[in-house]
């Protein structure tokens, strides 16, 4: 293997923490494939971007893999039926979202047959790249690391920023989560097939899979699979440190390039995908299967923590039952303990972003201690992987000083939670940042709306002025026409007058002639 990057030389990013890993619990058993349950709930918003457009009616029968809602515009992804059955409703239902608010979702009643629609592999080398990307968009392929960003956008070749290095993220740095680990152990060759397609689409010079050193089984499985590949794929073992699996952090560790603030990885010639995304690309291209399932880690306070290959839309309480747990009266966390959020209900469905469900218990996650005043110890700054000043951001966010927070690069914060983890005063720092971020975003949107309203109002006033001017002009024209007619009348009058004069003169002449005759 002649990797271009010297993988013996790894780089470091600032800070990071070492929370207890707790990955061992869920990796002792192989991935269990879950058969589709009776009812599936599929939210139309499972990705970053526009809500998908509904393509089916209530009551219609659909086959497994059939399109239910298509992508709306480029920044969107499609939703497909994870099994065959009947659409029973399209309505607002609770979704796994920190807001706890309902959103538009499709309910699919399974017919138990699990019958596939006709599907076939895509001969990607004989199609244009644009067509392949279009197929990815239609198949609902999104980043499965948790951000659910539509992958076809990231796989688009950009001539201004060619991708030199394709990085596959198998670091999985967050505690408890082990879905990528198990996927790499069991389906390594399929991931590699997906990477080959991604490499072809991006025309990348080199491919690196970054795996943390706490996953030796996954690393060896991937190494074995890479040998069978038609392209050069390097497996890099990176030190275990949280958040080493953040895209920008992994890029820095592997290439030494720091993605500048406000820029994208492509600006430094790198593109990064989760290994599970590569797997779905392979399933689509080489088997014709859209994204209808994903691997989910179920762990925490359950009897048999494990990883499951779950059809999307399955209710979480049913899944937790399979792991030997009860969802009642327990707080559920989606994602890991550092970046995850509490679920509003145990009935919410598994979506494309669901990498892990942790059934919480007081002994696993004790109630947080009451927050104390900040003592400016700056431990948060020491661990911040982005190199921000979390204590300053905290002051600004707390006092609603949003402009200052923005100046201090609040939007570069990846909300990894390292600062909260080390804070000796137990201040929920990330919560303040999230609050400030959403306030700033709302303010920006309001400002944008105000600018549009101003423009429209100005245009309206301008139009009213213009119409007034046009009316005035028309009026003036009409008056002018009227006076023009008056002139004609004068000429006529003058003509008549002169005719009268002539007649009078003639009469006078005749009269004088008569008088002369009579004289």
């Amino acid at each position: 293997m002649n990797a271009i990057v010297n993988l013996n030389k790894l780089f470091k990013f600032n800070g990071g923490v070492h929370p207890p890993e707790h990955k061992f619990e869920s990796t002792s058993m192989p991935i269990k494939v879950v058969s589709p349950p009776k009812t599936l709930v599929l939210p139309l918003r499972q990705h970053v971007g526009n809500v998908s457009k509904l393509q089916v009616n209530v009551g219609s029968h659909v086959l497994k893999g059939q399109l239910l809602a298509k992508a709306d515009g480029q920044m969107s992804a499609a939703v497909h039926a994870p099994t065959s059955g009947t659409i029973v409703s399209v309505e607002d239902q609770l979704i796994p979202h920190p807001s706890g608010l309902p959103d538009i979702s499709i309910t699919l009643q399974s017919d138990g047959e699990d019958r596939w629609m006709a599907h076939q592999p895509i001969d990607y080398r004989n199609l244009s790249k644009a067509e392949v990307l279009e197929r990815l968009r239609e198949a609902g392929v999104v980043g499965l690391g948790g951000a659910t960003f539509p992958s076809h956008i990231k796989l688009r070749e950009d001539t201004r920023h060619p991708v030199k290095t394709l990085i596959l993220n198998g670091a999985e740095c967050e505690p408890y989560i082990s879905c990528d680990d198990m996927l790499m152990r069991e389906r390594a060759i399929e991931i590699v097939r997906g990477i080959e397609i991604m490499q072809y689409l991006l025309d990348a010079e080199e491919c690196i899979i970054g795996i943390e050193d706490n996953k030796p089984e996954a690393a060896s499985a991937m190494r074995e699979a890479c040998v069978q590949s038609t392209i050069d794929i390097a497996v890099a073992i990176v030190p275990t440190i949280y958040p080493g699996g953040g895209a920008r952090q992994l890029i820095q560790v592997l290439t030494g390039k720091e993605v500048p603030s406000g820029k994208l990885p492509t600006d430094v010639g790198v593109q990064c995908f989760n290994v599970a995304t590569a797997y779905t690309v392979h399933r689509l291209v080489n088997h014709g299967e859209p994204v209808i399932s994903r691997i989910v880690t179920v762990t925490g306070n359950v009897k048999r923590p494990a990883n499951f290959d779950v059809p999307l839309g399955m209710a979480m309480d049913e899944l937790i039952k399979l792991a030997g747990g009860t969802a009642e009266q327990a707080d559920l966390i989606m994602g890991g303990p550092m970046m995850g959020f509490n679920l509003p209900s145990s009935k919410v469905p598994v979506v494309k972003a669901t990498n892990c469900i942790i059934v919480s218990a007081p002994e696993i996650f004790p109630e947080p201690q009451p927050a104390l005043p900040c003592i400016r110890c700056a431990r948060c700054a020491d661990v911040c992987p982005v190199g921000l000043q979390p204590q300053e951001l905290y002051w600004f966010s707390k006092s609603d000083n949003f402009e200052k927070a923005r100046d201090y690069k609040l939007f570069d914060c990846i909300e990894c939670g390292c600062c909260t983890y080390v804070c000796p005063s137990n201040i929920p720092l990330v919560q303040y940042y999230r609050y400030a971020k959403s306030e700033i975003i709302a303010q920006d949107k309001a400002k944008q709306a105000a600018d549009i309203a101003r423009e429209r109002n100005e245009f309206r006033l301008m139009r009213i002025e213009r119409e007034k001017a046009e009316r005035a002009q028309k009026h003036a024209q009409r008056t002018a026409e009227a006076t023009g007619n008056a002139g004609e009348d004068d000429a006529k009058k003058a003509a008549i007058a002169s005719a009268v004069e002539r007649v009078n003169a003639q009469k006078a002449g005749e009269a004088s002639a008569k008088a002369e005759e009579s004289n």
């Binding site: 918003r45 979704i95 303040y432 999230r434 306030e439 101003r454 429209r456 109002n457 100005e458 245009f459």
Partner: protein, 184 residues
Amino acid sequence: MLTALYVMIGLALLLGVVLGYSALKFKVEGDPLIARIDAILPQTQCGQCSYPGCKPYATAIANGEADINQCPPGGDAGVRALADLLGVEYKPLNAEHGVPKPKAVAMIEESLCIGCTLCIQACPVDAILGAAKQMHTVIESECTGCELCVAPCPVDCITMEPIAESPTNWKWRYPVIEIKQVAV
């Protein structure tokens, strides 16, 4: 002595020409203060300030004719921003001009609409679509929630619907740390 005098006169002439030229060349059109005040105002064009729109109100503030606390949609934050810009004392919103309300959009009950176009004429941002004797409708994304269309409607078919919270416009709450009693 004389040389110095010539040099100074020469410099004065030269700089005079440069300044005169730049005064013409880089002349600022309009009053920049009005534009800056206008940028803070929420552009609902609702007229609650007793001026016929945000720009006239901004002009009135700039000319010292209006107070800074007459804009309920701008809210407390708006007054603070204006006080900050103009270097004057903050004062609470004047209740005479109304109280801040949650953001809403106009909704036309389309079955009742008689197509009189009165609301279209009232809308300051052309957010209502329709023609005479045809049903009208509000372009939701353009509506500023000014309520100016509500009063002219002869059949009272326009209502203001507050914008509901959804996962798209939902905001993280300010962290509230519960205070616990540790000892009596």
